[in-house]
């Protein structure tokens, strides 16, 4: 079964680029641009990995993360923040929100692929 990855980012370009990167690797990638959409998708499907951006209108990444972790289904699911925010406190907040990893943009594609494969295979 291919791993399902949900990518949440309000920037279309980023979504597209990540889709282009991850799909060839054999992952099933869903791309949403808001937190509310993400939650809907999460309920509809099951995912193995979540890639979240933090800075988003309406619901930011932290809130979404917390909400996801509130879902029974996704309590243990690896969540990775991928964000322009890079402060220490953001990191801590991120991890406190329930994320497993905190990555800052820009990240080299190789590194990202490496991390994802390490996380979900």
């Amino acid at each position: 079964m291919p791993k399902r990855i949900l990518v949440v980012d309000d920037d279309q370009m980023v979504l597209m680029a990540l889709g282009e990167l991850l799909k060839p690797e054999g992952y099933e990638v869903n791309m949403v641009s808001s937190g509310s959409e993400a939650l809907k998708r999460l309920d509809e499907n099951g995912y193995d990995l979540l890639l979240l951006d933090i800075i988003m209108p309406l619901m930011d990444g932290f809130e979404l993360c917390r909400k996801v972790r509130g879902k029974e289904k996704y309590k243990e699911t690896p969540i990775v923040f991928l964000t322009a925010k890079s402060r220490e406190e953001d990191k801590i907040s991120g991890l406190a929100a329930g994320a497993n990893l905190f990555l800052s943009k820009p990240i080299s594609p190789e590194k990202l692929l490496d991390i994802i494969s390490k996380t979900i295979g």
Binding site: V14, A84, E88, K105, L112
Partner: protein, 938 residues
């Protein structure tokens, strides 16, 4: 006393008394003595007369016996006459100056004669020559005739005085006894001669006794003659002798037979007794026979002559002699009182004289003294009248003696007095008026003073003498001490107002001594009231001097200090309270005089200007103004215009040089009259506040900066963020693209170029993000070594890869700094990166990066220094100033963005520190990061 009384007698009395005394005494004395003496003499003389009578009779007997034919009576007569003529052998006075003329008759009975002049004979004052006084006396005494013969030059004896008269009755003066005659011869030879002479026609038996002159030669003779008679007359003569009134002579023989007696001739009275029964005759006879030749005995007995009709016996005195040849006792006796009659009469006479003279003297004295003292009394009277203001009196000067002189002087004096008096009256008139005026003034003053003394009810005024006895005590003293004036005046000593313990200490003496020396003394002493209460009092004591300068007493002015003391206490407390406030005041308080000189400064001000107030008093306040005297003047102008200047901001300089910002409230100080007497100011030190303000401003500026920066940061972050996404998308898709193309595609290089561009964009974005991160620092106390280590950790591998030796020298005991660890880390990351680049650029030589951190001090403040030293290419001098500019870089294009150091600079500055660069081009560079640290405490 007596002397005093004597002094006070009038002159009259004095004179009388003195005169009486002087007259009376001598008189009495003389009288007494003379009477005694005289009477004694008289008595003696009388007795002597008696004795002489006896002697005479004795002599007569003798003569009679000697010359039987001599007429015994003659002899006695002669003797008597002799005695009378020359009493006690006195000489006849021959006075040659007085010649007496006699008619000498040679022949008896002859009428012819020649004149003879002879020097006069005198007996006493009585003239004998030619005088008959003496011879008559003799005749009356003796019964026989008496004559005086004076020897003439021719040797005749001239009769110069005789009782014999001639037939014609005239005296036979001038009869001459011729010198040839036997009588004359015998007499001139000095013999008593008896001769018959014929004189004045009669024959006489004369007995001649030669009279001797002063040279011893016979100058004449005394003769007693009797007509030739029988001896019968001798007895008769004897019988005829009288002594005194009833005295007589008698002769008695040893058998007591009266031989010759005027009455009892022939009687035998041997056993006669006197009225005392004394056989006086026997006694007389017994005594008489013992008598020698010439001796005369004395017998005294009382005899009553009843025949003469006497009734009382009288004292008889009898003188007797013993004529042995005939056994006759010749006696002559008389009654004493008769003998003594004369003396007694004289005595009485003298006494009478004395009394009379005394009386006379008395009268005379009285009169005389009246006379003498009359003027004096007049004088007295006049002066008395004068003293009763009856001036125009004059003394009538009657005498030229001292009293008269006195009177004259007195009159002159009165005149003078009258002159003076009129002058004086004038002067007195004016003076009286003056005196009246001053008297009134004096009275007023006196009243005034008294009223002052008494109105001083608060001040006690006490006068005391040198012993402390109270002489004056005013109302105020009564009030203060509780004694009434009557109770203490002249009764009590000032000691009663002293405390018992002070009385002992003789404070009195001490105070007196002090006052004596200085003239005044002041002291504070507890005093005692009458009721025993004590109160504190202030005494001012001065001495009282008499015109000679001697101290006669002291005056004390007493003041109750009780109220004053409590007021003082209140004042002191208030003062202390106010001073406390002043001193406690946080702000500085300064007062100055109108000239600006400091008169007071409180503690807080001392702290502000770092100077003790004692060093500032009197100095001008502008000394401490940064603006100096100009500022002071300006302030003064403000004050004069507006009375006060509130919150006047200014700068002051402390003695340390420190400048302080002061907020000053200054105001003028006025006295009660409203006059300006100085200034006062409250100095609020707002240096710190200002600093805070400045800090605030800085902070605000900073804040503004910060917010600008933050805005910028946010902008940049926004940009970075915005760029990040498309960048990442681009990089991702390119990756995919390149992967898909794979192999040896000719566009792979072109794609790689795009990848490189992306990388550069990434770097720029990265730097931008770094820049933006600077605006959001989180300041905490951190140890600077930590970010240094972090930075090293990150870059260590890279540095090693470049062959750079890292030398660490980090002090583990650094004080903490307040800062953002991330930002500091950024700084060192940058510095290490620069160092690496510099050493890479140098190429050769050793590559050493030395990192050391240490504590240091800058301007008294602790700082932490981190030194990054490389041995790289160094910075040329001309670039040293530019290196901090943003975008300045010496690195080749693509190598550095030039943002690094400017970022570092910003971060370090935000931390309150600075960057220091030391570089030598070609050798290396040292960069020092200096950041103020919190001192190690807590």
């Amino acid at each position: 006393m007596i002397v005093k009384r004597f002094r006070n007698w009038t002159i009259q009395t004095k004179l009388i008394a003195v005169t009486l005394f002087l007259v009376l005494l001598p008189l009495i004395f003389v009288a007494a003595i003379s009477t005694r003496y005289f009477s004694q003499a008289m008595q003696a003389a009388s007795e002597q007369d008696l004795a002489h009578i006896v002697e005479n009779i004795n002599s007569m007997c003798k003569i009679q016996q000697e010359m039987e034919i001599v007429n015994e009576k003659l002899l006695s007569g002669l003797i008597l006459a002799r005695d009378r003529l020359q009493p006690h052998g006195a000489e006849i006075q021959v006075v040659p100056e007085q010649m007496v003329r006699f008619k000498a008759m040679d022949q008896p009975g002859s009428e012819e004669g020649h004149m003879v002049a002879l020097p006069a004979w005198k007996s006493g004052e009585a003239l004998l020559s030619g005088d008959t006084g003496f011879v008559d006396t003799i005749k009356s005494l003796v019964g026989d005739n008496c004559s005086l013969y004076q020897r003439t030059e021719s040797g005749d004896l001239l009769n110069i005085s005789t009782t014999i008269t001639g037939r014609d009755g005239s005296r036979a003066i001038g009869s001459l006894i011729a010198s040839e005659s036997e009588a004359a011869k015998s007499v001139l030879a000095g013999k008593t001669t008896e001769k018959r002479i014929f004189l004045a026609g009669e024959w006489y038996i004369g007995l001649f006794s030669p009279i001797l002159g002063s040279n011893g030669s016979v100058i004449g003779a005394l003769a007693v003659s009797v007509k030739e008679q029988t001896t019968y007359s001798f007895r008769e003569e004897i019988k005829r002798i009288r002594v005194g009134d009833t005295g007589y002579a008698y002769i008695i023989d040893t058998k007591g037979d009266l031989k010759v007696h005027p009455a009892k001739e022939g009687e035998i009275i041997l056993h006669s007794r006197d009225s005392k029964g004394f056989e006086y005759i026997s006694a007389l006879i017994a005594d008489a026979v013992k008598l020698k030749e010439g001796e005369v005995g004395t017998s005294r007995y009382t005899w009553l002559n009843s025949e003469l009709g006497e009734t009382r016996p009288r004292q008889k005195i009898v003188k007797f002699a013993y004529f042995k040849p005939w056994n006759w006792i010749i006696a002559a006796g008389s009654y004493e009182n008769e003998i003594y009659k004369a003396p007694k009469e004289i005595e009485r006479f003298i006494v009478m004289v004395v009394f009379v003279s005394v009386g006379l003297v008395f009268v005379l004295i009285i009169t005389f003294s009246k006379l003498l003292t009359g003027p004096i009394r007049e004088l007295t009277e006049v002066t008395r009248k004068m003293s009763e203001r009856d001036l125009p009196q004059r003394i009538v000067v009657r005498t030229g003696d001292e009293i008269g002189l006195l009177g004259n002087s007195f009159n002159r004096m009165i005149e003078q007095i009258q002159n003076y008096t009129s002058n004086l009256e004038q002067i007195v008139g004016t003076r009286t008026h003056q005196l009246k005026v001053s008297e009134e003034k004096y009275r007023d003053l006196s009243l005034f003073l008294n009223s002052i003394l008494d109105s001083a009810t608060v001040y006690g005024i006490i006068a005391i003498d040198c012993d402390g006895k109270i002489l004056e005590f005013n109302r105020g003293a009564e009030n203060l001490l509780g004694w009434k004036k009557e109770e203490v005046l002249n009764k009590e000593s000032i000691r009663v107002t002293l405390l018992p313990e002070d009385r002992e200490k003789s404070i009195q003496n001490h105070v007196f001594g002090c006052t004596r020396t200085k003239g005044i003394s002041e002291l504070e002493l507890m005093r005692l009231k009458k009721n025993g209460d004590r109160f504190p009092a202030h005494s001012t004591i001065t001495d009282i001097k008499d015109p000679n300068g001697r101290i006669t007493g002291f005056v004390e002015i007493l003041r109750d200090l009780t109220i004053q003391r409590s007021l003082e206490r209140e004042l002191r407390e208030t003062k202390e309270f106010l001073e406390n406030i002043m001193e406690s005041c946080v702000d500085g308080i300064v007062t100055t005089d109108l000239k600006g000189k400091i008169t007071y400064m409180n503690r807080s001000m001392e702290l502000i200007i770092s100077c003790d107030r004692k060093d500032t008093l009197g100095k001008h306040i502008s000394l401490f103004y940064v603006g100096g005297i100009g500022e002071a003047r300006q302030i003064m102008r403000l004050l004069l215009e507006h009375e006060r200047a509130i919150s006047y901001a200014m700068e002051m300089k402390a003695t340390t040089g420190q400048i302080k910002t002061i907020l000053n409230t200054i105001f003028l100080v006025r006295n009660e009259a409203g006059q300006n007497i100085g200034t006062a100011g409250l100095f609020k030190d707002i240096t710190h506040q200002k600093k805070l303000e400045a800090d605030l401003k800085d902070a605000q500026a900073n804040l503004v900066e910060t917010s600008k920066m933050r805005a910028l940061g946010e902008l940049v972050a926004g940009v970075a963020h915005e760029v990040n996404n498309p960048l990442m998308a681009s990089q991702t898709i390119l990756h995919v693209l390149m992967k898909n193309l794979g192999g040896d595609h000719e566009n792979l290089n072109r794609l790689d170029l795009i990848r490189q561009c992306n990388n550069r964009i990434e770097k720029i974005v990265y730097h931008l993000k770094e820049f933006s991160r600077q605006t959001q620092p989180e300041f905490q106390p951190i140890d600077i070594n930590q970010p240094v280590e972090n930075a090293l950790l990150i870059t260590a591998q890279q540095l090693l890869d470049h062959g750079i030796l890292i030398i660490r020298d980090l002090d583990p005991n650094l004080s903490k700094i307040i800062g953002d660890s991330n930002q500091i880390e950024q700084v060192f990351l940058n510095l290490f990166s620069n160092a690496k680049d510099a050493m890479d650029m140098k190429g050769d030589g050793k590559k050493e990066l030395r990192i050391s951190s240490y504590q240091a001090e800058e301007q008294g403040e602790p700082v932490v220094v981190v030194s990054v030293e490389d041995s790289g290419i160094g910075i040329p001098e001309e670039n040293l100033t530019k290196i901090l500019e943003p975008f300045f870089t010496s690195k080749p294009v693509g190598k550095g963005t030039g943002l690094g150091l400017s970022l570092c600079f910003g971060i370090v500055e935000a931390h309150g520190g600075r960057l220091e660069f030391k570089s030598k081009y070609g050798t290396g560079t040292e960069v020092r990061v200096i950041i103020p640290s919190k001192p190690m405490k807590e």
